[in-house]
């Protein structure tokens, strides 16, 4: 039996999640923020797969959650990029500091 357990994989997924959070908080470019969100979603997928394998191997719930999260992440990325391209057309910039029309 291998020495790698659930905790090791959870460590990787937690670290990846907070790397994504750091990127989301520090970068002001919309594409960079989108990439950080992709990292966060991937860490969550890794979490689901790890729990499915190590704790509930008799069910397949974690695996199906991962499949549906991948599908929803693809839809989310497509919509976000459509919005970013539209914003670039109207503002000539995709920096979030420049998109302040609704700011009070």
């Amino acid at each position: 039996m291998t020495g790698i357990g659930l905790t090791h994989i959870l460590f990787v997924s937690i670290a990846l999640f907070f790397i994504g959070v750091y990127g989301f908080l520090t970068r002001r470019n919309m594409i960079m923020m989108l990439m950080s969100i992709e990292l966060i979603l991937n860490s969550v997928n890794l979490n689901f797969i790890a729990f499915n394998k190590y704790l509930w191997a008799n069910k397949m719930d974690g695996l199906f959650f991962t499949i549906f999260i991948i599908a929803i992440a693809a839809a989310e990325a497509a919509v976000a990029i459509a919005i970013i391209i539209n914003l670039y057309r109207s503002h000539r910039s995709i920096d979030v500091e420049d998109a302040s029309d609704l700011k009070f």
Binding site: T2, N29, A57, F68, A82, I83, I94
Partner: protein
């Protein structure tokens, strides 16, 4: 330490290092490429966990789909070689503190928690079992979420086209 352990540590280190470089590098195109390698590393971890179907889906959807989409949108919206404006020091400090403390507290909870797994016989996560479950309508079937996700994907595709469409010029 067996070879399996060493492979896991290598995959984990590769994923985390490229992920960290993806959020800290100043050139946006390099950042997209580092993100690509990080996603490949996660696919490698899925292979290591013997979830081959999920690993294949990860490579097809993320590496083949989303990263290509991101690279195309980088080409459409900025000069690919230019540097991004550097983030301010205060933002780096706040973001770094939030990430480090969140990481610490979550890791503390994980280390203190006792995970109790099932002792029943596991199901092999092969394609036949996944297909039977996904389109099944009995107790463990997932056909309703499958249909909901298909409607969501259709709505998202129509929404993307409508949002990104150029306004027709007035004649």
């Amino acid at each position: 330490m067996t070879a399996q352990d060493i492979i896991f540590y290598l995959l984990a280190a590769f994923t985390l290092v490229t992920g960290f470089l993806a959020v800290t590098t100043t050139k946006i195109f390099r950042s997209a490429i580092f993100l690509l390698f990080s996603l490949i590393g996660i696919a490698g971890i899925y292979f290591w966990l013997e979830y081959e179907f999920i690993a294949a889906v990860q490579i097809i959807v993320y590496v083949g789909g989303i990263v290509v989409l991101i690279i195309f949108s980088i080409f459409l919206t900025q000069e690919a070689g230019s540097n991004l404006p550097d983030t301010t020091m205060s933002k780096k400090i706040t973001g770094g503190l939030a990430a480090v403390f969140g990481f610490g507290f979550t890791l503390l909870q994980v280390l203190q928690h006792k995970f109790i797994g099932t002792t029943e016989q596991g199901i092999e996560p092969n394609v036949a079992n996944i297909g039977n479950r996904m389109l099944g309508v009995n107790e463990f079937g997932y056909s309703l979420p499958f249909e909901v996700v298909s409607i969501l994907l259709l709505a998202a595709m129509v929404g993307c086209i409508v949002i990104a469409l150029k306004k027709p010029v007035e004649k």
